[in-house]
Symmetry: C2
Subunit: 322 residues, 2 copies
């Protein structure tokens, strides 16, 4: 309980300890997380995603300054991609974000992307809760990518931004439709470079195709030059404007429910996955089953129902212990 109280007071060391515990799935950490949960739901949770190389980390760096000027405290959860091809550059950016290390109002936490099938991990959501409970006014979730994991991130945040750059022209068509549809704000970074106009045009074209209810939010396009810190104040203003829209329209309540549902189902998915790949696998049952399927002795549907049968028994046992 001492740790929980400290975190609620904004203690960085206590928060970092809990975050490590949550990543390692220590039972004590999950218990503390449960105790913090009633104190969450106050922060403005922002999602920032986009292809690698568009300058997201530099943008977040300047965005932190912009929010701090407004006297808002900021937490950043940066999900590192596991790609060996982009890992290097991203690491450099992370170091840049540590510029804020002497500022008590800023807390940056990097984490490896984990989870059953490479999607949004349940730890990421827990990190947001911890920063929220610490009292951070704004929590930014940064992810690198344009696939299914990022579609999932859009569901757990209040405001979602897709960051592109002047070079993104040929990348736009690869981006998952779900991200394009969910983005509340589009950022075109490196706006002084050739190609920026083309990217803006493509985004405008897509937005024209999107159906919009009357009085609903009109997604905006913000031009930035993050390296020169140009456009960051406008972007911060746009996020705040979006939050005000969410609150005034009653949309915020709906988003919080979508987020709760996403987290709940993600947790179920993770418990099931952990059971299959850990408890069930360690007893050799999974390998036995896989071998029988591979040699066509049993079919995969019947086997799946068997696992679920065991699963129920296993967790009944577990909840009895709690």
């Amino acid at each position: 309980m001492k740790n929980v109280t400290k975190i609620l007071e904004g203690d960085v060391l206590a928060a970092a300890t809990l975050m490590r515990g949550v990543e390692d799935e220590k039972p004590e950490a999950l218990r503390e997380l449960g105790l913090l949960f009633p104190s969450t739901g106050r922060a403005h949770v922002i999602g920032l995603t986009g292809p690698p190389g568009v300058g997201k980390s530099t943008l977040i760096d300047s965005l932190i300054y912009a929010f701090r000027k407004k006297d808002l405290t900021v937490g950043v959860v940066a999900v590192d991609p596991t790609s060996p091809f982009t890992g290097g550059a991203v690491l450099g950016d992370r170091v840049r974000m540590q510029d804020h290390i002497t500022d008590n109002g800023v807390f940056v936490r990097s984490m490896a992307s984990r989870g059953w099938r490479g999607g949004l991990s349940k730890s990421t959501i827990s990190m947001v809760h911890i920063m929220d409970a610490m009292g951070k006014d704004v929590v930014i979730v940064e992810t690198v990518g344009v696939g299914q994991s990022e579609v999932e991130v859009t569901k757990i945040v209040d405001s979602s931004a897709l960051v592109l750059s002047a070079d993104s022209g040929d990348q736009v068509q690869i981006i998952k439709a779900g991200i394009l549809e969910a983005a509340d704000i589009f950022v075109v970074n490196k706006a002084d470079k050739e190609g920026a106009g083309n990217v803006v045009g493509r985004v405008e074209f897509m937005l024209g195709m999107r159906e919009r209810l009357p009085n609903s939010w009109k997604p905006s396009i913000v031009l930035t030059q993050a390296v020169q810190k140009i456009g960051a104040d406008e972007l911060a203003d746009e996020f705040i404007k979006h939050k005000e829209y969410l609150l005034a329209s009653g949309e915020m309540e709906k988003r919080k429910k979508i987020s709760a549902r996403e987290e709940l189902l993600k947790n179920v998915e993770c418990y099931v996955s952990d059971f299959c790949n850990q408890e069930f696998a360690s007893e050799g049952k999974l390998d036995d089953m896989v071998n029988k399927i591979a040699s066509r002795k049993v079919d995969p549907h019947t086997s799946a129902l068997q696992i679920i049968d065991w699963l129920g028994t296993h967790f009944k046992h577990l909840s009895g212990k709690r």
Copy 2:
């Protein structure tokens, strides 16, 4: 049983009926699928993926001709993307593939991409099994994309190809590392266009970074011009060479186990997801839980364990009925 026998004899109508039943998750269809399962595992299953616009469908069209020249029968499972931005072009390509409609040795089946979180659907794997049971020598699974879903596809196929085109230079860095690492064959289509050399260079660079055990398969790069049917014979030969490598090295057996494991876990995931979003949701229990989480009355971990508890009871009941 009559239907099952017909499918084993290669009857297209019976197969199409079962495929529809499987997509609609009819219990009778799942039972028939189970009866067919022992007769699967013989086809050479090929995965073909890549960004939209690289010419995959045209390539598959010419690849079908190449395999047919070798007197091999071919099945194609084409997973349509749900993207509203690329849907049109793909539809045109599908129509093109229907050129083979008068050829009994070719069976093309398009399906919408479905599934819990947008990943590989369990129906896709079932379609492969049905074509396999029909006696198709080669089954091609075509997906459009470069994200997590495609990483999953690489796990259920024997041979995996990533299709790029001369225009893909800027797209390469967005492609999920898992796809690049899993691809056995890289195809650079539109090889006569400017930029092809650049793309080949990027692929070679990545392959240089990949660690390779001695005597393991050396991923090849095949240049094609699908519209002119150039390179398709070489590509077919390369797939056959890869299959021979898999068989000779014992790698095929390993891949069949990876595929069985992937299908098994995917089935568990789908049963759990269906339970949460259907049975559990229809009784209003899911909404109740979500509302309590959104209003911070209960925490999402405790709620998830409750769902799993119900899940076990529900499926115990269900397997009792079977």
